[in-house]
Point group: C3
């Protein structure tokens, strides 16, 4: 074999379409914090619109089946540096996760808007990614947050929450969450088997309310429980056959994530 006989592959360059974004964004942030933030969103949606404002970022989206909603915010002081005009930027969350998988936990990630090329430029430890933005007009509209009056509130460790969800997944595809007489219970029923997980008030960080119970899909709670498993405290607000609100703070309180999940109705 001489190299002249080596097979030659022809490569076609492809160009992304141009979008109309005008503005300034230049920020840097701890890699692990950014990874965790993106994961909290990507468990529910593959893509969405980030609102970059002077005081930080917000994100709100409903999953494709309209069963769950995520609301997320990260204040500018969670960033190492943050400089921003007002911007709405559509991003592919799956791609972002994949790229951030290359970063070490303690890397600093730079984010900068490349206005000409309509890309987000992401830099860390020698790597520079230029990721095309999504056309905001093609993304689903941001949902409005429903006003809920949930009578019970429980604060527990994220690890305990994840464990109860995993235990239920062994035998069912749905789980009931309820509070009764100073006890939080999570119970699931399969075709022939049942599982119950209980935490009394003194095993919880706090408990308020009683006599509530709703049924939820384990598909959704299973996905949500992954980012939740890493947080020390998660707050669960419950009602009777009502949506559950699951919230936790990130970045030492500079940010927050909240899930809202519609109930299934129990039929007897």
């Amino acid at each position: 074999m001489g190299y002249t006989k080596l097979v030659v592959h022809v490569l076609r360059k492809k160009y992304g379409r141009k979008l109309e974004v005008v503005g300034l964004l230049k920020a840097s942030i701890n890699a692990e914090l950014l990874k965790d933030s993106i994961e909290a969103l990507s468990t529910l949606v593959d893509e969405g619109k980030f609102n970059f404002a002077e005081d930080g970022i917000t994100f709100k989206a409903v999953d494709p089946a309209n069963v769950a909603m995520v609301t997320f915010s990260l204040k500018s002081d969670a960033f190492s540096s943050y400089e921003c005009d007002s911007e709405e930027l559509g991003m592919d969350l799956t791609k972002l996760s994949d790229i951030l998988g290359m970063a070490q936990a303690n890397d600093t990630v730079g984010l900068e808007l490349d206005e000409d090329a309509q890309r987000m430029v992401i830099t860390f430890s020698g790597l520079t990614y230029a990721v095309s933005l999504l056309d905001v007009s093609t993304l689903r509209k941001e949902p409005s947050t429903p006003k809920l009056d949930l009578p019970a509130a429980v604060v527990m460790s994220g690890g305990d929450f994840r464990r109860a969800i995993r235990a239920a997944e062994k035998i069912s595809d749905h789980i009931a969450l309820g509070v009764d007489k100073n006890v939080l219970y999570m119970e699931a029923e399969g075709d022939t088997d049942r599982v119950k997980f209980e935490l009394t008030k003194d095993q919880l960080i706090s408990l308020k309310g009683s006599g509530v119970r709703s049924l939820y899909s384990l598909d959704y709670l299973g996905d949500m429980s992954k980012p939740i498993s890493r947080v020390p405290e998660v707050t669960i607000n419950l009602g009777k056959d009502y949506p559950v609100q699951i919230s936790f703070s990130i970045a030492d309180g500079s940010g927050s994530a909240e899930y809202l999940l519609a109930p299934r109705i129990e039929s007897d």
Copy 2:
């Protein structure tokens, strides 16, 4: 999105069939010991009948292809607490393994018969599983143990046994076990390749007998070698073109497991 527009899933509760079990069982046991015990059985069969008696548990079953048999016993003193009338309880071993995968090694697992619901109630660290029993009359009949006179006996480490089996799996689907002149050998032959593993008497814990050799399926020995890999001592009783008996004790001698595996016949 308002929550009132959230999709509502309707869920049908399903009820298990009722069985006729009457009796008492209330016991607790170390989680790792119970996991290891179940794994020793589930390598061969998916379900079977446990005999709970006053002095402990026994289990005996033949695999669906009638090639291998497992005999298992665990005395009451292997349990942290044990209270039992005589009971025959059919259980799904795959489901038990899956559920016990939620337990930490040093958890204590409670077992209690729920007579009304015909379920086994399994508890550990806040979780309560109620697992339906199998109808004993639908399970295969317990085999009777054949009376074997096996002239050779070798005691070796479970780790060495596993290693020899894995080495043979690289090139074949069967293996010959034999003892000759104070050497235990395991050899396998593929279409074009061969492997031999030998341990002399001083590399073994003990060796007795000579001039025996039989051929076995690696499918079965591969499965059996997984629980065996964790025991310090396994006893192998061999004959000439005869079943092999592989036994080991568990729970510091309060229990034992024994496999019997039929030989393949070598044709020349």
Copy 3:
């Protein structure tokens, strides 16, 4: 169940075909070094011809698509012991890798030619594998090494090389390697996204040349980067739209491996 009712499987022994190999080979070598050597080859080809000579081993092969070539040598002093007449031995690299997976890193592996059976006998820690040789006449002819004049040379850590390749794999199936003004760059372009990795001269072990750039397939570089990730130094020789030569030494300089990879042509 009595053992007499156990199902009996009949086994047919199969014999390998006889080859005409005459000669002597008796050597021993550290297991990890042998594993790493085989992996450097098996990333490109599944089988090939080893040339065993008095002063050591050489191997040269082109991949099935004629895009890449590997040249490998290991001098006799990389072995713990080495005794050899001249031999050409065809070997199945996938099988060798699989078998060596059973060895511990610090095992000593014995290699000996079994002339009667036309097999390579491989021994380590109690195991003896006899692996049939491949008929050398049925293997692809050894390629001749092309004479290349590559103006740029960069020496970098194998870990950095692997990292750049993985970063590019996230968004493309090809990558450009280039040197410009004392900077090594690796850049990839997907349908809409781009990534660039740069190392300046002082971040490299050494850098020579400038103004070169060629495009390569990430399929190949991805495979090659796995064994490369473990070496402290890899040398990359580059030209303009020319093959790349990637070389590293093994066994403290007693051996070497070199990949040659044809470029893709960039079209604008």
